[in-house]
C-alpha cells in the first residue's frame, strides 16, 4: 500500500503553504525564505524552496502526511521527489497569475503519469479578487485534452475550503 501522504503542488503564490498550515495539526515544517523575484514580491514576501510538511493523526493512530512542493519552476526537481508514493495530488492554481490556465497545463503535463496512476483535484485560488478566467474556461481547456478532473474554487486560508478539495480527491480515488 502507498504511504499515507497527499501532495500539494501548483503555481507560485497559489497557497500551497497556506493550505497545509490551514489543516495541519502540527506547526508546519516550512522552508520558506525571503523571495527575490519581482513577480513573487508583488504578491508576498516568502517562497518555498524545499517543501512544506504538515500532519493529521487518524483515529487508528496512523498519520496522514501533507507535503507541499515549491511552486517555482526552477525547483521542479523537488516535485517528483515529493510526489513519490503519494495517494494523490492537489493542484492549486493562482487565478491572479498572468496565465493561470497555462500554469495548470504545465502542472498536469508534469505530473501526467502520476495522475494517471492515482488521481488529482484542481483548486483555483484568489477567485475572490480575480474571477476570470472562470471555471468554465478551465473545464473547456481540460475537456479538449480529455481530462476529467474536478476544478473547484478554493480559498487556501479557509480550512473548510481545503477540506472540500481533499474530500473531492478521496472521492476521485475511490469512485472516479
Amino acid at each position: 500500500m502507498s504511504e499515507i501522504k497527499i501532495v500539494f503542488t501548483g503555481s507560485m503564490g497559489a497557497g500551497k503553504t497556506t493550505a497545509i498550515a490551514a489543516i495541519s495539526e502540527i506547526p508546519v515544517i516550512s522552508t520558506d525564505v525571503r523571495a527575490t523575484d519581482a513577480d513573487v514580491l508583488q504578491r508576498k514576501e516568502t517562497t518555498t524552496v524545499a517543501m512544506d510538511y504538515g500532519e493529521l493523526t487518524l483515529e487508528d493512530g496512523q498519520k496522514l502526511r501533507l507535503y507541499g512542493t515549491p511552486g517555482q519552476q526552477r525547483f521542479e526537481y523537488m516535485w517528483k521527489i515529493l510526489a513519490r508514493g503519494a495517494l494523490g495530488l492537489v493542484i492549486l492554481i493562482d487565478n491572479s497569475g498572468s496565465d493561470p490556465i497555462g500554469e495548470l497545463v504545465r502542472y498536469i503535463d508534469n505530473f501526467r503519469e502520476f495522475i494517471n496512476e492515482t488521481s488529482a483535484v484542481i483548486g483555483i485560488s484568489h477567485m475572490d479578487t480575480n474571477p476570470e478566467p472562470d471555471l468554465q474556461s478551465y473545464y473547456s481547456y481540460l475537456q479538449e485534452r480529455g481530462i476529467e478532473l474536478p476544478v473547484l474554487p478554493v480559498d487556501a486560508r479557509s480550512s473548510d475550503s481545503v477540506v472540500m478539495l481533499i474530500q473531492a480527491l478521496l472521492a476521485m480515488l475511490e469512485f472516479g
Binding site: 515544517i29 516550512s30 522552508t31 525564505v33 525571503r34 523571495a35 527575490t36 523575484d37 513573487v40 517562497t47 524552496v49 524545499a50 517543501m51 515549491p70 517555482q72 526552477r74 525547483f75 526537481y77 523537488m78
Partner: protein, 125 residues
C-alpha cells in the same frame, strides 16, 4: 539580487578561490531562494544554474533541521561522494555559497578556503 558592480567584485573573489586552492573545481553564489548570482568553474563541466537552485533547497532544509533541534543557523552542509565532495554554506541570511571538488581527499581544503571566501563575499554585499 546583487548589483552588477558587486557581482563583478564577487566574481573576482571566486576566481581567486580557484587560483588559491587547486582542489576546488567549481563555486557558485546563489540567493537563498535559488537564483544564481555568480559562478566560476575550471572547465565547463557543470550546469551551475541548477546547482544554485538545489543549493538553496538543501541549505534551507539544513536551516529547518537545525532550527528544529535548536542548534542555531546551519553553517555548512557537506556531501561526501564516491567521486568528490560538495560543500554548502551560508554567506549571510540571504546568500549561499556552493563549492565542489572532484578530489576525494580535499574536504579540509575545500571547507577552509570556501569559508574564508564566503566571509569576504559577505563583506562585499
Amino acid at each position: 539580487m546583487l548589483a552588477p558592480a558587486i557581482v563583478k567584485q564577487v566574481e573576482v573573489r571566486l576566481d581567486k578561490l580557484l587560483e588559491m586552492c587547486s582542489a576546488v573545481d567549481a563555486v557558485v553564489v546563489a540567493t537563498l531562494d535559488g537564483h544564481l548570482c555568480a559562478m566560476k568553474q575550471r572547465e565547463k563541466s557543470y550546469s551551475l544554474e541548477r546547482l544554485a537552485t538545489m543549493g538553496s533547497t538543501l541549505m534551507s532544509l539544513g536551516d529547518t533541521i537545525t532550527a528544529e533541534l535548536a542548534m542555531g543557523t546551519c553553517d555548512n552542509i557537506i556531501s561526501e561522494n564516491r567521486n568528490g565532495v560538495v560543500a554548502f554554506m551560508h554567506i549571510n541570511d540571504d546568500l549561499v555559497l556552493v563549492s565542489l571538488t572532484t578530489s576525494k581527499n580535499s574536504l579540509g581544503m575545500l571547507l577552509g578556503y570556501s569559508r574564508s571566501c564566503a566571509q569576504d563575499v559577505a563583506k562585499m554585499v
